[in-house]
């Protein structure tokens, strides 16, 4: 069974939940940008949440399946058709062998995740199957997919394959899917324009009250040169009280660095382990997926919350994910 890349799309990479634990050796974490869509896609096909998925960006690929496969696609809706039939999102789908899925561009959002039952047969490099584009290791030969690439899925482990996936595998010809999906009401979050919640950063005090208020009141625009390493934002200048040079130190995903020009950069999944600019604020962990779904030219509005408010929101979302997990488990009976 293989998946052949007929058209790679803008940037299609293999990602899982990343490779934490080696940052002291200079190894970036990498991994998916929108963790929630990735985890949901894996849950729907009965995979472990850390199983590698394909991360699709802005313009999805065209993929040919040589044999039947059970997949799920979550995140920014890039349409997708098999023949003339639209592919449903947020639910497991049986794709018949010999068919191809042609993805398009999302009207809202930026990234989507395609999980396949069993995952991809790729080596684990430094603890992860994530692609490190800078450095060129991990994932599929350390790079984004190209036309002509052939991906090998792993055979799903029968004993651990959920019943709904086994039923799909046995179903008759054509594209098949259950009559349920993750309901809109149950969705842990929506891919839609919404404020991005931030918490004070390591150098919050290096900025005047007026500058801090500017950050949380003025709109910022996502720059065209934004990528998996960082989002460059354009908007009112954020001037530090003292120098914009600080000693380099370890930084987190979501850290909003302010270089001398005063135009902030939000560090994303492929960020380097250390940074040398003041960090005015940090995108709350709960809203990293929201930030990750911002396409270039989108207007972002930041909203200041306390870390505790962020933890409460994360907890709620994990609860929702837990409900989905339970609902799926119930379908095993």
């Amino acid at each position: 069974m293989t998946i052949e890349v007929e058209r790679p799309g803008l940037l299609t990479t293999v990602q899982d939940l990343g490779r934490p634990g080696r940052q002291h050796l200079g190894v970036p974490v990498n991994g998916v940008m929108d963790e929630i869509s990735h985890r949901l896609a894996n849950l729907l096909v009965g995979n472990d949440e850390n199983e590698a998925t394909l991360e699709l960006t802005l313009n999805g690929p065209t993929l040919r399946f040589t044999t039947d496969a059970v997949i799920a696609i979550c995140g920014a809706d890039m349409g997708g058709t098999v023949g003339r039939q639209p592919v449903p999102w947020w639910r497991p789908i049986r794709v018949p062998g010999g068919s191809k899925i042609v993805f398009g561009r999302p009207a809202i959002g930026c990234r989507a995740y395609l999980a396949i039952a069993g995952g991809f047969d790729l080596p684990v490099v430094l603890g992860s199957r994530s692609t490190a584009l800078m450095g060129g290791y991990g994932g599929f030969h350390g790079r984004a997919l190209k036309k002509g690439d052939v991906l090998l899925p792993r055979q799903p482990d029968e004993a651990h394959t959920p019943r709904w996936v086994r039923l799909l595998v046995r179903s008759h010809h054509g594209i098949a899917y259950p009559n349920w999906s993750v309901s809109r009401a149950r969705m842990p979050y929506r891919v839609s324009p919404q404020p991005v919640r931030i918490v004070p950063g390591r150098h919050w005090q290096h900025f005047s009250v007026a500058v801090r208020e500017l950050l949380t009141s003025a709109p910022y625009k996502v720059g065209l040169d934004s990528d998996r390493m960082g989002y460059r934002l354009a908007g009112p200048v954020l001037e530090a009280r003292r120098s914009h040079d600080v000693l380099s130190e370890g930084v987190v995903m979501g850290a909003m660095q302010v270089p001398p020009g005063g135009q902030p950069i939000v560090l994303m999944a492929d960020h380097q382990t250390t940074g040398g600019y003041p960090v005015i604020a940090v995108v709350a962990g709960v809203d990293l997926p929201v930030m990750a779904q911002m396409p270039p030219n989108e207007i972002v509005q930041f909203k200041l919350i306390t870390p505790e408010e962020g933890y409460a929101a994360s907890g709620q979302r994990e609860h929702q994910l837990g409900m989905i997990r339970q609902a799926l488990a119930a379908k095993l009976m």
């Binding site: 080696r22 130190e249 370890g250």
Partner: protein, 242 residues
Amino acid sequence: MPQTDTTAQIFSMGDRALVVEFGRTLNNAFTLRARALCEYLLAHPLPCMTDVVPSYASVTVHFDSIAAVAHFRAVSPLEAMREVLQQAVERAPLAPRRRARTLDIPVCYGGEYGEDLADVAKHCKLTADEVIRLHSSVLYDVSMVGFVPGFGYLGGLDRRLVTPRRDQPRKRVPAGSVGIGGEQTGVYPVETPGGWNLIGRTPRRLVDFERSGSPSEMEAGDHVRFHPIDAAEFVRLSERRQ
């Protein structure tokens, strides 16, 4: 008795990391403290800690906030983490225990391997030979490993060789390239974009992704010495590596 410590300060970096700061200037004493704490935390990991990153004068401790909520059963895992980190800072030794290694790195300077050697010489008002001599006569310190796996930021560059980064970074710097960027020097272990001035290239491999432990030949605290080789030696050593 734990050593009480009044100089270390703990800051939060958002909701998923804390930073222990030993100072705000480049000072070897701060760097040693940071390395010692990093070593201690790697040997005695805090609950929910996912990463610990030493730098010149601080240590950043990353944690899984969702796991921390469950683990500490506290309203604020940030405060709970701060408390256990404070205890670790008090217990950690003041100097790192790891024995530093010295890496000897052969470099073919100039020519096709170091396209910017002439520019660096011109900027520094030196001859190319003088640049090579100065660059290869220092025992450098690995201040930090970062940028990409295996890239060590080397401290100790001779003041006479300080050269600003190139205005236009290269899209592709070949693996093994030795560069000067401002007051720092280092070796690009893999092909990446880069803005440093390239003065030479080493055939020695500095990163190995197949290795199970550290992929990096050098770690913070190690020492590096460069020694000049000619093009024939470069080819010979490259072939031996295959």
